[in-house]
Structure formats: structure tokens, C-alpha cells
Point group: C2
Chain length 182, copies 2
Amino acid sequence: MALGKDYAGQDCALARALELVGERWTLLVVRDVFYGVRRFSDFQAHLDIPRAVLTARLSALVDGGVLERRRYQDSPPRDEYVLTEAGVALWPAVYALAQWAVAFLPTAAGAIREFAHVTCDAVVDPAGLCAVCGRVPPATELETRPGPGMATYHRDDPVSVALRRPHRLIEPLQPALAEARA
Amino acid sequence: MALGKDYAGQDCALARALELVGERWTLLVVRDVFYGVRRFSDFQAHLDIPRAVLTARLSALVDGGVLERRRYQDSPPRDEYVLTEAGVALWPAVYALAQWAVAFLPTAAGAIREFAHVTCDAVVDPAGLCAVCGRVPPATELETRPGPGMATYHRDDPVSVALRRPHRLIEPLQPALAEARA
DNA sequence: CCGTGTTGGTTCATTCATTGAACCGAGGCG
DNA sequence: CGCCTCGGTTCAATGAATGAACCAACACGG
């Protein structure tokens, strides 16, 4: 990040978290993984992030136990990045930050996405609570749906287009991308 | 943060949040405000942050509506930084990140702090839920108490010492500091 | 079996941010 | 009058981010 390698002896949980996910781009990469992005080139297309930085962030997330790098084909060798248990557990933090921005840094068009509890088919509230079952579902039980602001959101790279469809969190985006190419 | 002034057109709520609170040190400053730190020199003593960076971060937080700069004495003129409504609303995000680190980046000694719902006198769970009243209390209804890991946490600047006492969140730390000096 | 395309990188010069030390100014205090 | 505190600003040095170029492994089409 910058000189202070270890956040200057801040012996505190928040500092430890920020060590790992507090660098520029890192949390956006994590968000993309929740949305189903798994491949190097898909992150790159969606985030417009320099490749060197993406390499560094993915490696840091793997080293930190947030992502796992998994071989999905042998020839040519190709790896994908998937969330570990620790990674999935980051959802409340990611969601809380995003909902804060929806509430306090609003855009005219409103929220781009909504998140619904698939087993109840109900959109969760800003605290993540499902009104139907009264619980706060984990990321594995959520799907993302376009919100009112989606209409004004215009990136036209294939990954962005595929991400506009309603789809289950964490599930791979790749099938939709392959279909779109065909 | 670095070149990409606007997180590269990521038209997304998380990106907007990170614009404002995603820079190095920023979230630690916000955490300190929740703990009661309000003055420039107290932030500086507790965080070991370069003064120029602290100035920049506090200004950004004021401009972004997270903090308010308030004159607390006229001669010499002195200001303190206090949370706005938007600032207080950041608590769930800060808490979620910290609790994630407690769970997945643990230290041998355990959590340094616990947070209790003052009206119920009960420690809240990692999701922020109070077991007694069944709600997720806002930061204004919480107090911090030393946890099992506090014993191994040793910074001896006056601010760190004052922060070890149980105390209400957001309430100013300054009285305890003045008392300690006396 | 040759050229082209895709994926997943690495390397490198330039630009920008962070750092830490030094300096500064307004005012209180003895 | 001189010194201290608070809350900064300035500045040179260092390190990180950027973006363009390069590279390697392999598939595929002809």
C-alpha cells in the first residue's frame, strides 16, 4: 500500500482486515467474485484495472485465504479464483459499505442492484434482513436483481452485460459469458 | 488514492463508498471517531499517521459528509471532528469488517474489544445483534468494553490508555484524557 | 505446420501518493 | 520575553499505481 507495511502496530481487528482488503481495488475484486467473476481476463475487462495490480491483488487475496486458485482445465492450464469460506464471510462487510453509499451517496437513478433471498423470493433490506424469514441470509442464499438505477448504468463490455442479468451470487458467470459469445 | 480519480467509472455503490472511505488510514480514522477521538493531535498520537495525511483524510471526510468540523473553543480557535448522521451510519460497515477479522484473521489472545448494547447490558454478537432485545442497535446505543485480547494490547500513548476503559461509543474521549493528565 | 487468437501473465518508464522531518503561526502561560 | 501546545503546511525521498509493450503456452483454422 505504502511504506507502513503493517499499519503501524495497530493491534486491532479492523487494521488486520484493512491490511488484506483495504488496498485500492481489492474490495472491488472481491465484489466481482461475489457477482460470479472468476477469471483473470474477466476481472480485467470489468474493472479496467492494470494487469500488474490485478495480479498483485489476486495473489494477496489467495495468500490471505480469501480466494482459492483452482485449476479448471489442464490444457492449456487455466486457473479460476473462487471464494473460500472466509471470502464468503466478507459479504456482510461488502454489503454494508455498498448500502451505506446507496443511502448517503445516492445517485439520481437509485440503486443499481437489489439482492433477494432466493428461498423466500424477497428482496433484503439495507441491513441484509429478509422480511419473510426474518433472518440475515448468507451470500450463498442471495441473488442479485437489477434495481431502478440499472437503466442508467452503461458499460458495454461483455462482463458488465452478463452481470446485468438476475443471477445467484457466487455462482460462476462464465456460462452466461460463453452463451453471449455464441 | 492514485491516478484513477474516480475509480474508473465503476458506476456502483461500493465504488462510491470506497472513493470516500477506501483510502489508506481513512477507515481507521473513522473507527477512532467512533471510539471518541475528536482532536487532531489525538488522532495523530493514536494512529502514528503523518500529519499531512491526517489533514487530507479529515478534510476528505468533512467534504464527504462523514464528519463535521466544529469549533469547541474560540481562543485559541480549536476545532473538533464529530460524526454526522452519515458518519454514524458507517458503523455497520466498520463493525462487519472488524468482526470478519476477529473470525478469520484471529490472534492468539482473542478479540481486543467487545461491544455491548447499553440499554440491555448485553454484548452483541458478530452480526451486531443484541440477544436480549433481538435488534441490531445503532452505534449510539453501544459501549465498548475490553475483551480477552486487551491484555496483550500495549500501546502506552495517553489516547490508547484512555481507549482501554469501557466507554460509550461516539461520546468524546477528551474528559478522560484531561483527567489522566491531571 | 504456419499464422492467428486467447488467456494469463511480466516488465518497465512515468506519474502519483505516502512518509517523516522540518518549519510555521496563533495564542496561552509563567 | 521566551517557551509551550495545538493544528497545521512544506518539502525531498521513497514507494506504489498506471498503462503500454512484451511474452509464453496452447488451440484452432487452413
